[in-house]
């Protein structure tokens, strides 16, 4: 295989419409070699369509996609050699045996026979399918079928692997196996996976693209996304003492620190306070040192992380928000938005 450039996938201004429906709307992103990227989005956001365009299965209306430097639209056969693809629901022919199927696929992907024979053993080992190699695909369990799909995608050692919802319908144990398998590809192959199972994406991906309505509404590593969407860090502290001028005292610790909420105190005198700061630095140690010095008894202190789920909900909602018409409703600037 020819040498692989540093940027394996380049998508610019991609548009795909189905009749009146715009599935992908001016999408641009790029993926570096060896990176694992998660495509995240609600149903119908354009994830599968984007992936199908990347594989060269569907033509786009406008925009360009380059895989390893080759444009998909004009050199489909060159780009398809670099792509391993596992579609949604992982369709497999029911009447073939696992090893026969992999052989057929390997031959279609132009692997030489001798190389293919060794490689099939390798991927079967990698995907833990050795015991099932002679079984018929139609009789395999869902988890095993999914692993056959992954084995098939990595079979020809492509530079780019595209998997549409690889863990859908698997039990937690199998999800961990699949996740480890994907993680083991890091650094060697660029992987794009789509999912709406968020912990999934968070655990495996280096970078997340959140798509809604065919557009990227947020992108970055999970940590960056949290900061971008929420822009603040919050701490939850359980303390006992005179809380009346807590807010003023906190200014002395960090000027940006405010009290977002102060719960009622329990019978034992401990109250729960939520502190919010815009600064990115971790204030945990300072708080632990300063609060007892100010005369508070501290029982617990925790930094609350917004989960990727919150980020996802906020980001997709923000994008709906952005698309709402600016029509004043009863003097209000906007139609009421769903509450966060």
């Amino acid at each position: 295989m020819a040498e692989i450039p540093d940027i394996t996938i380049e998508v610019s201004h991609l548009v795909k419409t189905y009749g009146a429906l715009t599935a992908v709307n001016d999408l641009s992103f790029s993926v570096k070699r060896g990176e694992i990227v998660g495509l995240l989005g609600p149903n119908g956001a354009g994830k599968s369509t984007t992936m199908r365009i990347l594989t060269g299965y569907l033509p786009a209306n406008s925009g360009s996609v380059r895989i390893c430097g080759h444009p998909v639209a004009s050199e489909p056969e060159a780009t398809k050699r670099h792509v391993g693809y596992m579609p949604e629901n992982n369709p497999l022919p029911d009447d073939m045996r696992v090893s026969e199927y992999l052989w057929f696929r390997g031959r279609l992907k132009e692997m030489p026979r001798a190389r293919l024979r060794a490689r099939i053993d390798e991927v079967l080992e990698l995907c833990d399918l050795k015991r099932n190699r002679h079984r018929i695909l139609g009789r395999l369990s869902k988890g095993n079928k999914q692993r056959v799909g992954i084995a098939e995608a990595i079979l020809a050692e492509p530079a780019v692997i595209i998997m549409d919802e690889p863990t859908i319908g698997l039990d937690p144990h199998q999800i961990i196996i699949v996740r480890d398998l994907i993680a083991s590809l890091r650094g060697r192959m660029s992987v794009i996976i789509s999912s709406h199972i968020l912990p999934e994406i968070e655990a495996t991906c280096d970078r997340v693209l959140i798509i809604n309505g065919g557009r990227i509404v947020a992108q970055g590593s999970p940590a960056e996304l949290r900061h971008e969407i929420f822009g603040s860090t919050s701490y939850r502290v359980e303390l006992a003492g005179e809380t009346a001028n807590l807010a003023a005292q906190l200014k002395g610790i960090d000027s940006a620190l405010t009290v977002a909420a102060l719960g009622d105190c329990a019978a034992d005198g401990f109250c729960t306070a939520t502190l919010v700061t815009a600064s990115a630095a971790d204030l945990g140690e300072q708080l632990l040192a300063a609060l007892p010095a100010l005369g508070y008894r501290v029982r617990s202190l925790g930094r609350t992380q917004p989960s990727l789920e919150d980020v996802f909900l906020a980001a997709t909602r923000r994008s709906w928000d952005a698309r709402l018409p600016d029509k004043p409703v009863n003097g209000d600037a906007r139609a009421p938005l769903p509450k966060f």
Binding site: Y57, L58, P59, K80, R81, D95, R105, L108, E110
Partner: protein, 253 residues
């Protein structure tokens, strides 16, 4: 065309494993055996003018109507339904290779099934112990007709299969198209209005599309290049439309 043989051997394998192939084979051999024994019975009762082989090939249309759909309806429609067409087309294979591979495999089976009817003639020869019964010339012409017309019939089946994701629809569509191609010119040719004036050339064209005339010519040893041209271009056209059919479905989602 480097993937053609991969797809071809895969398709042969699929056909070997598919029950519809065996249903087609059993039906076909049963029906043809029945016809053949009927023909022999008729010949044993009264002397006839045409050799038995000629009459045998006259009924070609009947097995074609059920055998071709059974061999071809699965090819593309089923892949589309299962979603394996998507995985197939995301490998460095082009649509033409897929369609041609599937076509060749179905055609091979079509030829094999017809080839097995050679056994009838062999059995007749074996028991009659009379070389007059095995008349090689009409047999040669007849099987040549089967081979050439099979190209068109199978291509029509592949085309129907590329139009839909449902096997039954593909099968019925194949039968309809085959009836139009085989029996259509015969009935249209009988319209008497065609015999007058400007419509005369239309009548001439319809007459040369008569597949029943073709089979008679072939079995009598007349090999007309116009007829060969008809089958070759017809099948090429049907295959071209199948390729376009597969690709058009992608364009429109």
């Amino acid at each position: 065309m480097r993937h053609y043989f991969t797809i071809f051997s895969h398709e042969v394998r699929t056909l070997l494993y598919s029950p519809s192939t065996y249903i087609a084979a059993v039906f076909f051999l049963g029906v043809m055996g029945f016809f053949f024994s009927n023909i022999l019975e008729a010949y044993s009762k009264a002397p006839q003018e045409t050799p038995p082989a000629v009459v045998f090939f006259q009924v070609f249309w009947f097995p074609v109507l059920f055998m071709v759909p059974l061999l071809t309806m699965k090819t593309i429609a089923d892949e589309r339904r299962q979603g394996t067409l998507e995985t197939l087309l995301t490998t460095p294979v082009n649509t033409a290779e897929v369609v041609l591979g599937k076509f060749s495999a179905a055609y091979l089976f079509y030829l094999l099934l017809w080839g097995s009817t050679l056994g009838f003639h062999y059995l007749l020869q074996l028991y009659a112990r009379d070389s007059r019964f095995l008349d090689p010339a009409p047999l040669l012409g007849g099987y040549l007709f089967i081979a050439v017309s099979g190209l068109l019939f199978i291509a029509i089946g592949i085309f129907a299969s590329s139009m839909t994701r449902s096997q039954p629809v593909a099968g019925i569509f194949t039968v309809v198209l085959l009836i139009l191609v085989i029996l259509g010119p015969r009935y249209l040719g009988e319209i008497s209005a065609l015999n007058t004036g400007v419509l005369r050339p239309v009548k001439g064209a319809l007459d040369s599309l008569q597949i029943f005339t073709h089979v008679e010519d072939f079995t009598h040893g007349i090999i007309d290049t116009r007829q060969l041209f008809y089958y070759l271009t017809g099948s090429a056209l049907a295959l071209l439309f199948s390729i376009l059919g597969v690709e058009a479905k992608l364009l429109n989602g």
